[in-house]
Symmetry: C2
Subunit: 337 residues, 2 copies
């Protein structure tokens, strides 16, 4: 079997580390792995298939000979280095916001729009974490009943911000338990025992960028500009695993039972829905898993054709690293690389 030279840009971050873990778990055909990061990570190492590999500095020349470059080091790094990687012959799968809404760049969730991968010109964008887990569940509903409108409220874990946010949550929590008064450093307000309706920057509409990502990326991935979305995105004191309360209005009527049966057969989805027996997805339980979990599937009695659902996934895996590697796997399987 052919092997690939794979660069991971942002290899010391929460998503980068998860990418390296998943490449091993899934026995991705790696010939050589090249962990890259900023000069700040000089001297760091990562473990891959029993070997300790030194992290190198992410500079243009590093991409010579690379087949696949997985980027997760923020928008600025992607804007600077993704074109350099492409120029040197690599396919870039980019987890940042840099290229997602670029009409020439496919924005892909493999369960939803794998066909879009074929039209790439070097860069394929990985969607925002909270969008990915939602569209995996919306797609089979849309195919059957046509979605008109989505109202989503999120409960997002701090791992989505990065490793320093995980440390901040733990530190602040310990401080509060010991009677202290923590101050936010990563977040604008303390996150311990609190919830912050603030993810990414706000614009003059009063929406945050995270909310606009859910609105715009959903339409692009689903390939349907008619799907209306409104979103409120909220950070909660959870280490890992994003949850979403998703309200959907459809054109055709679906009962909860029909929705459950459609979702039980959907790729990448696991239905966990027996609330009377305390079964519903929980972020602490799905952390470490690749699938998207859905439960609390109920008819919305406030409109003729509506559903409520509770969607949970590991934001570092399906929301980021796993989705990127699924894209790479699709390219390998379809000889696109």
């Amino acid at each position: 079997m052919k092997g690939y030279n794979v660069a991971v840009v942002g290899a010391t971050g929460a998503v980068g580390q998860t990418m390296i873990k998943i490449l091993q778990e899934r026995s991705f055909p790696v010939k050589k792995i090249l962990p890259l990061a900023s000069a700040r990570s000089n001297g760091h190492t990562v473990d891959f298939m029993g070997e300790r590999i030194t992290v190198e500095e992410a500079v243009p020349a590093a991409f010579e000979g690379i087949d696949i470059a997985l980027f997760s080091a923020g928008q600025d790094v992607s804007l600077n280095l993704a074109p350099e990687a492409v120029k040197r012959g690599a396919v870039v799968i980019d987890n940042s916001n840099a290229f997602r809404m670029d009409a020439k760049v496919p924005l892909v969730v493999p369960e939803v729009n794998p066909q879009d991968i074929h039209r790439h010109r070097g860069i394929i964008a990985n969607p925002n974490c909270s969008t990915i887990q939602m569209v995996v569940v919306l797609k089979p509903i849309h195919d059957r009943a046509r979605i008109k409108r989505v109202v989503v409220s999120t409960y997002q874990a701090v791992s989505g911000t990065g490793l320093d946010a995980i440390e901040e949550l733990k530190l602040q929590t310990a401080q509060l338990l010991n009677g202290g008064s923590p101050e936010g450093r990563v977040y604008p307000h303390p996150i311990a025992f609190n919830v912050l309706p603030h993810i990414d920057l706000f614009d003059d509409t009063g929406y945050s960028k995270e909310e606009w990502k859910m609105i715009r990326e959903t339409k692009k991935i689903m390939g349907d500009e008619n799907i209306k979305v409104t979103a409120t995105t909220v950070r909660v004191p959870v280490i890992n695993g994003h949850s979403e309360a998703v309200n959907v209005e459809t054109v055709e009527k679906l009962t909860a039972e029909e929705a459950r049966s459609i979702l039980a057969k959907a790729p990448g989805v696991k239905v966990a829905d027996d609330p009377q027996n305390k079964v519903y997805p929980l972020p602490a339980s799905v952390s470490g898993k690749n699938d998207v979990f859905v439960g609390r599937i109920r008819e919305d009695f406030s409109i003729p054709c509506g559903l409520n659902m509770w969607i949970v996934a590991d934001n570092l895996r399906k929301g980021a690293a796993y989705n990127a590697i699924q894209i790479a796997e699709y390219m390998v399987q379809n000889s696109l690389i």
Copy 2:
């Protein structure tokens, strides 16, 4: 000024303690306070106006000579003892679910439907915590623009469950920070660093009782059966203070600016809405305050007449104890007692 004999049933619980605190803060005209609880609380004391008062057992004879009985000891205690208190001449303000949907019992939020207090027959019901804070904000919007439909997702603090839930959250959090694996005792799953889409019991529709309370109580308090509500209620690892992402569809168009200006003048509401300067209500900040706080007020661009709002309040205060005492104050001011 006339003084009243006030019984607090459930005086050792989270809401009962808050009731006693608020009676003092507001200089409610108390002639005698009588803290009552189950026999389990024998020997407990509460402090009131500098005096240490022994908690007595909640039995029918305890209500002799009581003018106002504030109940917050659960549905069974209310079902058993509220009629006994009324029989002995007391007015009962009941914080349990026992009488809320009884057509003969007023369900009151003083900012919304104070007029309903006048038709009481001895018992006045205090609504569910998550409903109270929502309707305080919905009422002025409804008066101006008529609300058709509400989609609400909640982020509810553990104090709503009681003092043992606060202890469970703290204990589990400390265990997890020290590498342990906590198990739920109060809640069916660990609540530390987790979110549970489960508040109260589920029925065959897949909804929880908490969700039905928000749907049904909203119509009753607002006095309008045409207001459609759907809800997803979720417990989050916050000590005190409920938050809600509320999506509203109205008949008349309201801009975010108009909504903000209506709410700025609304009784019991404080607008905290400048997200670009990191200003929005947070549960950890509103804990200890009596008002309902609203921010993140934005047009919902997915429908012609829609708004998104973020509503936060102290669930022990406005969501329970303060609302009950506001009802008592209204009765005193209007010579209804």
